[in-house]
């Protein structure tokens, strides 16, 4: 009935036709419409890089689900970004195996190289540094994930090298 302090955004105006089509497809194969929430967040993030409040409201409008519920989903998963992020998001593993194998020095090296702290993005918008609870490669620790790529057996040098190569690749492509 009444809604209090809630922004309603008409998804048809806000989302693109492609986004709507893909989300509609996901919704059609789920038991309930709101079950497509995670997929919808992923779709919109794939197109826009992150999930803004407006995107969140538009998806909630489209899937007819409470904003509180969708926000719960969006903030639960650390691969859904509720703030703008850089081109490459570094998920550095923060679990016990990585700590035992020297993730601390890798972290220091990355921080120094990029001149950012956890949760920050480089000034050029290329890299965002985040911690990740466990990437599941404890036998190949320390590890990190950038995009869909996993990097294992890290040392400070290897990590910095990876970042430099990514930057170079990006420049070639760009």
């Amino acid at each position: 009935m009444e809604t209090i302090n809630t922004t309603i955004i008409d998804y048809q105006h806000y989302l693109t036709a492609t986004e709507i089509a893909v989300i509609e497809h996901e919704a059609s194969i789920m038991e309930t419409r709101e079950a497509a929430g995670i997929e919808a967040l992923k779709v919109v993030q794939a197109h826009r890089g992150w999930i803004s409040d407006e995107s969140l409201f538009a998806i909630s409008d489209m899937l007819v689900m409470p904003i509180a519920q969708l926000e719960g989903v969006a903030t639960f998963y650390n691969l859904i970004y509720r703030q703008p992020v850089g081109q490459y998001v570094i998920h550095l593993c923060d679990s016990i195996a990585c700590h035992l194998t020297g993730v601390d020095s890798v972290l220091v090296a990355i921080k120094q190289h990029l001149n950012i702290e956890y949760g920050q993005t480089t000034a050029d918008g290329k890299f965002t540094l985040l911690s990740n609870a466990c990437l599941g490669s404890c036998d190949k620790a320390p590890t990190m994930m950038i995009g869909t790529e996993h990097y294992q057996y890290l040392s400070p040098e290897i990590a910095v090298d990876i970042l430099q190569k990514l930057l170079a690749k990006g420049e070639v492509n760009g």
Binding site: I4, P66, Q69, E71, T75
Partner: protein, 1017 residues
């Protein structure tokens, strides 16, 4: 619940536990202490907090055992567990230690301190030394409105809040955000909580994340409160409450467990609506009585003021919001022929129908509602008029999922498993309303119709049932055909036909169907349709007869109903009588009656017709301002009495604190004036003979004043045959004297001691003076709470929070140990047997124009007539609660709901501000207009003849009317919003003023530890 019991061994001692519930509930039922957080007796188990760990052994030889969580472990025959075992107790202590790494040490400034479940559990586990040295995570709190405070740092992530708010109560604007060590409970963004059950978060939260904001602003520790068992005065459900007071002002309301009614939860109207007791509109002085001494109003002053009314006849108007005692007394003082419930003719017809329905159909309790597997709600928005009932209906809808889970061996207490299995599966709920309601989201089908159309649909359903009795309708095709055939006569639409068919189909499958309707639509036709439906069921039906609930608006509507008889007057008849030159009535006595059903014109007429107008009320209203004599009466927390709930269940509310004189209970005022205006008091001896002729003829000179409710009851019992004997306590005087010695203390056995009782005045110990036969003392001395089912507050050693209730139940979710049998009031047979209210005679005499005249004019004027229905609102639909400043701050700007077609014709769209002109003829047959600036909302399935909104139209426009919609210009909207905001600011200002004056009064208010009437000195 406790059908199957098995023996299990807890620390090698045998216990009998039920297999129907989980191990934790079983252990607690044995009154053994086992700490827990996420489990809740009404919400079941999710195993989130890991606090209720016990060691389970495989057999007697097993010394090692393994740790299990009691709340998610079923009880099995012969199982062996240990609570005291070292591994389990260390585990539990370490769970607390982990929680404490983030929990702040702010107990001294936390409103939960002293009644905190987390404190209790911490002590219970023995975690008394904190070794953690690191930093604690911190959060930013949200503004959740003016009712519930938010302090997220205290959170221990038990998930109870979201499980209550979202899962149990169907809230939408609350959620859980983040993961790992950063879990946040709240709204997506700041804003008032939308749910009318938000206040329960205060009790559901095991610590101080959610606190009662109103209580916090004028705070007292639980142990310093003086409390008494009470009953909610804000709707007809009759939830049991515990009201807390200190230094003469009411501080807060907490839930008081009653297995049949509210269980563990109440609505926000019940929790916060008590604010009216401290409100600015309270009447605190008598008006129209000359006072001998400026110091105090005495009974002599009252007697003098009333002396010239000696032997003059008054008409008395009772009220559905005051006690049974006061109404009964008034009726007997003025005489049955001079008594009116304040209902108009139509409401009288509704009352008669209601009485008949209630007599022939025993209404189920809220607990019984939760058993239903089919619910049909007709023309009553219970989500706003009886919110606690709507909460029970929500639970009933889960029965389909529970049955499904049970089939695959999952017990109903496995909350999250059952919810996962159930998904969106709900038992059928149908709703036939004139406005959208908060239950629409869980309806199988909800239809919006004007009340006349609802009536037609019910008639068709009745015919269908009768047809179903006569012949078998065994397939969908036959059903559709049958409905189509039956609906032809009333020209029902395809949607309406489909709805009726669906209801019928679901009804056939139901084993425990429930029908709910109410009187707030004020339509006798709908009630008579329902009566016909019920008889269609009873007539040799293959279907199981449904249970029926009729929801009246007020806390004592049924109590008032029970004392009405065929002589009772409608308000039209009252007016006719007053204007009758043969009768020469002195005037009117209005007993806590604001006559909201009268228009301003009618109020003026009434005032002119009554030579003397006497108002007894606790808060100011239209009539108190024009009365000759106003007597200030006690509000619910200041007096004793009985309310009769929608079932006919009589429940006593007890005085929490004596009011500041000259405020006294209505029945005391009536007692003061009974001898003077009451020339019609009869004695028991006379009514043994011929009732009708000499019933009210003998005058009883009543000399004694009644000092307590029990004395009054005894007087009623001795004097009036119709007083329900059930209410008067059994036993003679000596027994009562004995029970007085065993009275229960209203205050806790607090550490701050006896001298703190009146610390605002003196730190000397107060002498405890006791009312003659009160069962509670205004003291900390006396028997402990829990010695009767009427518990002033909920507390047990080691259990300082309301969770202590488990210690007073026979078993978890069971009856209270000291429960006494419920008392049901018999309805007056005179009214119940007289369904057709005698009207025609009175209408002729009446100076109010009847509605019939209105509608004919309207019909002649235009064929395209409309019905406007005002949405019910939980905060404003009940007059007393609506006076609460915090509720006034929740006012919403105007909204009107129209259908797409109307919007298109008027060229307006959703969200725009419209200027809406309503017009119709008033009672003087004049064409009247009302212009409303309102935001427009579109409801697709709304019929063309119906619009609804959240604003009130003036009384004359309540029937068929015309409506023109145009876009409001910018200036009009700005003006309206400015006016609207001014009202909100005024409410906020009023709230601040009240708080300030209460805090000042805390220092000066004289505390009375005795409650007689005037002159109790």
């Amino acid at each position: 619940m406790s059908e199957k019991k098995v023996t299990i061994f807890i620390d090698d001692m045998p216990y009998q536990l039920s297999t129907e519930d989980n191990l934790l509930a079983g252990v607690l039922s044995q009154k053994l202490n086992l700490p827990y957080f996420c489990w809740h007796p009404a919400m079941g188990s999710v195993g989130a907090c890991r606090q209720c760990a016990v060691t389970q052994f495989q057999d007697q030889a097993d010394q090692q055992g393994r740790i299990v969580m009691a709340c998610i472990t079923p009880v099995t025959d012969g199982m062996r567990i240990s609570i005291k075992n070292k591994a389990a107790s260390e585990f539990r202590e370490q769970v607390i230690a982990a929680m404490m790494t983030n929990h702040p040490h702010d107990c001294p400034v936390c409103a939960e301190g002293g009644e905190c479940h987390l404190q209790d559990m911490t002590v219970m586990t023995g975690h008394s030394v904190r070794e953690y040295q690191g930093t604690k995570r911190t959060f930013t709190n949200q503004y959740l409105g003016d009712l519930v405070g938010h302090e997220m740092n205290r959170c221990i992530t038990c998930y109870r809040c979201t499980r209550f708010y979202n899962d149990y109560a169907g809230g939408k604007d609350f959620g859980v955000y983040g993961s790992k060590n950063q879990v946040y409970f709240g709204r997506q963004s700041d804003g008032a909580l939308e749910s009318e059950f938000s206040g329960n978060l205060v009790e559901v939260c095991p610590t101080g994340v959610f606190t009662n904001k109103v209580f916090s602003s004028h705070y007292t520790r639980k142990w310093d409160l003086q409390s008494a068992p009470s009953v909610c005065s804000h709707c007809s459900v009759g939830c049991n409450l515990s009201i807390g007071e200190r230094y003469g002002s009411v501080r807060r309301v907490m839930n008081r467990y009653n297995i049949d009614i509210n269980g563990y939860f109440i609505c926000d109207r019940g929790r916060y609506g008590i604010g009216f007791v401290n409100g600015e509109q309270r009447i605190r002085q008598a008006k129209g009585i000359a006072q001998q001494s400026p110091a105090a109003l005495t009974t002599l002053d009252v007697a003098k003021a009333f002396s010239h009314f000696r032997k003059k006849q008054f008409i008395g108007i009772g009220s559905a919001r005051t006690s049974l005692e006061a109404n009964f007394y008034l009726k007997n003082i003025v005489g049955a022929e001079q008594f009116s419930p304040g209902y108009n003719d139509e409401e009288m017809k509704v009352a008669a129908q209601h009485a008949q329905l209630l007599t022939s159909n025993k209404a189920p309790s809220l607990a019984e509602i939760e058993d239903s597997d089919f619910v049909f709600i007709i023309a009553e928005d219970i989500s706003q008029t009886a919110p606690r009932m709507a909460l029970s209906v929500r639970q009933a809808l889960r029965n389909a999922a529970k049955t499904k889970a049970e089939k695959i061996g999952i017990a109903s207490w496995q909350d999250s498993a059952v919810r996962t299995i159930g998904g969106k599966l709900l038992s059928p709920l149908f709703s036939l309303q004139s406005t959208s309601t908060k239950l629409d989201d869980v309806c199988q089908q909800a239809l919006l119709l004007p009340v006349e159309q609802i009536s037609k649909c019910l008639a068709t359903l009745e015919k269908l049932l009768q047809l179903g009795n006569a012949q078998t309708i065994n397939n969908d095709q036959a059903l559709v055909q049958a409905v189509k055939h039956l609906a032809e006569q009333d020209k029902l639409s395809v949607t309406e036909q489909g709805f009726i068919a669906s209801v019928y189909k679901a009804l056939r499958k139901a084993t425990k169907p429930l029908f709910i309707s109410g009187t707030s639509g004020v339509c006798a036709n709908v009630l008579s349709n329902i009566a016909n439906l019920m008889s269609a069921f009873t007539a040799q039906n293959k279907l199981i007869a449904p249970r029926l609930i009729i929801v009246p608006p007020c806390s004592n509507s049924v109590g008032l109903l029970s004392i009405l008889d065929e002589k009772s007057l409608s308000i039209e008849q009252v007016l006719a009588q007053l204007n009758d030159p043969d009768k020469s009535y002195q005037g009117l006595i209005l007993l806590e009656q604001e006559l909201a059903n009268l228009s301003a014109v009618q109020i003026t007429q009434l005032r002119k017709s009554a030579q003397t107008l006497i108002v007894l009320d606790h808060s100011a209203h239209r009539l108190s301002s024009i009365a000759d004599i106003v007597l200030p009466v006690a509000a619910v927390s200041e007096g004793d009495g009985h309310y009769v709930n929608y079932q006919g269940r009589a429940q006593q509310f007890f005085q929490v604190h004596p009011p500041v004189l000259p405020i006294q209970e209505s029945w005391r005022w009536l007692d003061n004036i009974a001898d003077i205006v009451g020339t019609k008091v009869t004695s028991k001896a006379s009514d043994a003979g011929d009732h009708e002729s000499n019933y009210y003829t003998q005058v009883v000179a009543k000399k004694t004043r009644y000092e307590s409710l029990t004395q009054l009851h005894q007087f009623f019992l001795d004097t009036y045959a119709q007083w329900p004997k059930l209410i008067t306590k059994k036993g003679d005087k000596t027994q009562r004297d004995k029970s007085q010695q065993k009275a229960i203390a209203r205050m806790s056995h607090r550490a701050s001691g006896r001298t703190a009782q009146m610390a605002n005045i003196t730190v000397h110990e107060a002498k405890t003076t006791q009312k003659i036969d009160d069962s509670f003392t205004f003291s900390m001395e006396g028997k402990a709470t829990g010695q009767s089912s009427d518990m002033p507050f909920t507390w047990a050693p080691g259990w300082n929070s309301n969770q202590a209730i488990g210690q007073f139940q026979t078993e978890i979710n069971g009856q209270l140990l000291k429960a006494s049998a419920a008392v049901f009031i018999p309805l007056s047979s005179a009214l119940a047997n007289n369904p057709c209210w005698r009207l025609t005679k009175s209408i002729k005499n009446s100076t109010f124009k009847s509605e019939a005249a209105d509608s004919t004019v309207a019909k002649n004027k235009t064929a395209n007539h409309l019905i406007y229905v005002q949405q019910k609102n939980v905060y404003f639909s009940e007059w007393q609660a609506s006076l609460t400043a915090e509720f006034q701050m929740l006012r919403q700007s105007n909204r009107i709901y129209i259908n797409a077609k109307t919007a298109q014709q008027a060229e307006v769209t959703k969200g725009q501000w419209g200027k809406i002109i309503f017009s119709a003829t008033n009672e003087k047959m004049l064409w009247v207009n009302q212009t409303v600036i309102s935001q427009i909302f579109i409801v697709n399935d709304l019929p063309d003849t119906l619009v609804f909104g959240n604003f009130a139209l003036c009384q004359s426009l309540h029937h068929q009317l015309e409506m023109t919609i145009s876009l409001a210009c910018e200036q009009e909207v700005t003006d309206y919003l400015a006016q609207f905001n001014d009202a909100l600011i005024a409410a906020k200002k009023s709230k601040e003023n009240i708080l300030e004056s209460l805090k000042i009064k805390d220092q000066t208010i004289p505390i009375r530890l005795f409650s007689g009437g005037l002159n109790d000195g």
